[in-house]
């Protein structure tokens, strides 16, 4: 690299001056980018922290002169926000565990067993990903009603749980697991169950973690399907609850902003700490789960 720089700029001084200028330019660009991307989030947080009576007066201040947690108190007292939060955690957890279970078993079977029609099956699984969800909505909704799952957690999570892309992702990962290892275990008399539990799962741990995270984010942010399934506010997950806040408080966004802040913070924290797993998942599936 040094050799290259010297080749373009034979004068050492010139090179150094240019690189310093580029550095400053890049730094300025970076600050602009950071402002554009972080400021809206900052605005959301401070809007939720403005004291109630002063929301119109203080709206002009970019750095607020007074902060208050009052909005958050109202959020929990006047709206069932706590219930929504718990609903979101329960539903997201259930969805992610169920989805990961289905994708792991399916992916393993497709990757490590040879059987007739395997490729056909694999294609059929991938094709089902291409069916637009909007085409299925009405039939799915009718089905949920028939199964007696309307207005239940099961109704919200079960129909979404088997993700074709998730199965594809697990299969790709499982392909890399060494067959020798599995065969050695079989020779030693391990049952298929033991092999799956003690060899396959530990080896696939990174992929499982990635999938789990992506599924969690997916459901946490999902609005459409829960919006259809639930009518009773006591069953809402957060996304549907926040939609209700937006509809109810059209002129005053403090509650909406407080609700949004609390719903976004867990995702951002998760994203920040687990970005490597998330990136790995995205690189493998190309466009992410869903």
């Amino acid at each position: 690299m040094t050799a290259r720089t010297q080749y373009i700029n034979p004068g050492k001084l010139g090179a150094r001056r240019q690189s310093r200028l580029t550095k400053w330019l890049m730094f300025a660009l970076f600050v602009c980018l950071a402002i554009v991307f972080i400021f809206p989030l900052y605005w959301m947080v401070i809007s939720s922290l403005r004291p109630e009576g002063r929301i119109f007066v203080d709206a002009m201040e970019i750095i607020p002169s007074a902060l208050s947690l009052d909005t958050y108190r109202r959020l929990f007292e006047e709206e069932p926000y706590g219930v929504w939060f718990v609903n979101s955690i329960t539903q997201t957890g259930g969805y992610a565990l169920m989805g990961v279970f289905l994708c792991t078993t399916g992916g393993y079977a497709l990757a490590k067993f040879r059987f007739r029609y395997r490729n056909l099956l694999f294609v059929l699984i991938l094709v089902s990903q291409m069916i637009p969800f909007h085409l299925l909505i009405v039939s799915l909704f009718l089905m949920i009603i028939q199964m007696g799952m309307a207005e239940t957690y099961q109704g919200a999570i079960v129909p979404l749980a088997a993700s074709p892309i998730g199965i594809f992702f697990m299969r790709q990962y499982m392909l890399a697991i060494d067959d020798e290892m599995l065969n050695a275990a079989r020779v030693d008399g391990a049952s298929e169950y033991q092999i799956f539990w003690h060899i396959v799962l530990p080896n696939a741990r990174p992929a499982i973690a990635t999938l789990l995270i992506l599924f969690c984010i997916d459901y946490w942010n999902n609005l459409l399907w829960p919006l259809i399934v639930f009518r009773n506010p006591d069953n809402f997950p957060l996304a549907v609850g926040i939609k209700r806040l937006i509809d109810q408080y059209r002129q005053q966004y403090d509650l909406t902003m407080a609700g949004s802040t609390l719903a976004t913070v867990p995702v951002i924290i998760l994203f920040f700490f687990l970005r490597r797993q998330i990136m790995q998942g995205l690189a493998t599936t190309g466009t992410g789960i869903k």
């Binding site: 119109f56 067993f113 909007h134 299925l136 039939s139 942010n221 996304a239």
Partner: protein, 309 residues
């Protein structure tokens, strides 16, 4: 005898591999029940569905539901709105991630690269509801940031969310804000696979930075870009439902009603739920989308030798 032995073998195979079938069983049942079976239910597009008769008991009406949509007052505005919003999104949303990836790729400092990537793709993980809530608040004529900015310069703050003319711009550019970093990930991955020797040779030959981008990086990205372009053109009728739906208000419905929200409104929201009608529109959209995908892919193949298949 032979068949008996064969049958015995088959039985033995199933018994020996029952674990395999156990593993496969659940995911398959799931996909059949929740992905393929609803397709069967989509036949109500050709029937006059009523809950009393069920899917198979409702009378066939042929293409009546489709004709109703074509003759409907909403047909034209809904199609026009869908096309405007999605082509605008494509026009802005397609090149920007490529530009971002090309510029980030120029930077050699690891810390800088990683922070830019992290900051730009974090918004992807924010829920659509939250994004729209933020838009409402941010652009609000009294409490929003736009309001404070306008006041600072002594102007009357505009009511952007209520302005039908601003709807498409707000929709598209907030989408670009949210997705550009995420979209750049895949291009950066492709750029990292380009052989550095190419760049070194170009530098020796005296190529400038821009020339190297033009003649090395962009051709390297082209196949991926074409595939993504074909895919997004195939989805041109699938305007992001959640976001449009949340951004709609009586003030902007004239420009904000798209196919997906219309399907939802007539099928699941209106006082008389019209399942058949909304399924028909959904089916029509799916078929047109598929045809578009095939056409665009064909064109892409002919023009650039790159495509989905």
């Amino acid at each position: 005898m032979l068949t008996g032995a064969k049958r015995g073998k088959l039985w033995l195979r199933i018994r020996r591999n029952w674990q395999l079938y156990a593993l496969l069983f659940l995911p398959l049942v799931w996909l059949v029940v929740f992905r393929y079976a609803p397709m069967y239910g989509a036949q109500i597009a050709f029937r006059d569905y009523s809950p009393a008769f069920g899917i198979e008991g409702s009378p066939w009406v042929g293409l009546a539901n489709f004709e109703r949509f074509f003759n409907s007052y909403y047909f034209k505005p809904v199609i026009v709105n869908t096309l405007i919003i999605s082509f605008y999104s494509l026009l802005a949303g397609f090149p920007i991630p490529i530009i971002l990836a090309l510029s980030v790729n120029q930077v050699k400092m690891r810390l800088f690269r990683n922070s830019v990537q992290m900051i730009t793709y974090a918004p992807h993980f924010i829920s659509t509801v939250v994004i729209v809530g933020m838009l409402f608040q941010f652009l609000h004529p009294r409490v929003g940031f736009i309001a404070s900015l306008a006041n600072l310069f002594g102007m009357t703050p505009p009511n952007l969310m209520g302005d039908p003319g601003a709807f498409a711009h707000i929709f598209v550019w907030s989408g670009v804000w949210q997705e550009m970093g995420f979209g750049a990930i895949i291009y950066l991955a492709v750029l990292s696979t380009i052989d550095p020797a190419l760049h070194e040779a170009a530098v020796v030959d005296g190529a400038s930075r821009l020339q190297r981008i033009r003649y090395i990086d962009i051709p390297g990205l082209l196949p991926t870009a074409m595939v993504l372009l074909v895919l997004s053109t195939g989805r041109v009728l699938e305007v992001a439902f959640e976001k449009v739906y949340l951004m709609q208000s009586p003030l902007n419905l004239g420009v904000a009603e798209v196919i997906n929200t219309y399907v939802y409104r007539v099928g699941l929201l209106s006082p008389i739920l019209d399942f058949s009608y909304s399924t028909a529109i959904g089916l029509l959209k799916g078929v047109v989308g598929l045809l578009l995908l095939i056409t665009v892919n064909y064109a892409a193949r002919r023009l650039t030798d790159n495509g989905l298949w």
